[in-house]
């Protein structure tokens, strides 16, 4: 079956430092990878969508300068939160898909910022 792993599951970083998180698809080819953030008391908000052979598309309020994403092959993607501050805390989900209408999610990386 289709599985998505995320690493780390939980991390703490100091305010102003950066943190990299990874997403791995197993059992299928992740032609698209979407990164979401769930801030406290909010729902999942799309940060960016990465599709193989296309430019990464960032949503409003999110930028490549703040959340650089790498999607080097059909099974792996990573995203870095640069200069993390309190408002960046939350659960970061990776959603991978090979059929555009269905995403399979990892368990998320929970980021705490001190």
């Amino acid at each position: 079956g289709a599985l998505v792993y995320q690493y780390p599951r939980r991390t703490i970083c100091k305010s102003g430092t950066s943190m990299r998180m990874e997403c791995q698809a197993v059992g299928f080819q992740a032609t698209s990878v979407a990164w979401y953030r769930q801030s406290p008391q909010k729902t999942f908000e799309l940060i960016a969508l990465s599709t193989v052979n296309s430019a990464i598309k960032y949503e409003q309020n999110f930028t490549q300068e703040k959340f650089p994403i790498s999607h080097p092959n059909l099974s792996f993607s990573s995203m870095t939160v640069l200069n993390a501050y309190l408002e960046d805390r939350g659960l970061y989900l990776c959603g991978a898909s090979w059929v555009q209408d269905t995403q399979y999610f990892g368990p998320g990386t929970r980021l705490l910022v001190l």
């Binding site: 969508l49 599709t51 555009q100 209408d101």
Partner: protein
Amino acid sequence: GDSVTQKEGLVTLTEGLPVMLNCTYQTIYSNAFLFWYVHYLNESPRLLLKSSTDNKRTEHQGFHATLHKSSSSFHLQKSSAQLSDSALYYCALTWGNTGKLIFGLGTTLQVQP
């Protein structure tokens, strides 16, 4: 803009009773896909149901939902709640081949003995 509304934040009911979680959506696109994901604590959100066909019932693991484009609704139902159904349920929307998902706020279902 495109949005998904789940008006209940928390639904509490007794085991054996029927479940209905509400989901309505707003989009300008006619080729919308609607999803229900179930999210257990510390696990991955898992796809429960999906549909893009108007007025067609879709079923999985005892749950069912029917997309009604006339009322922009995709309510999740189950005839008899089980304790193991206690979880957070998200309704989500996408359209065309965008690959973007718009999530509702989620509804926590608590099933009591």
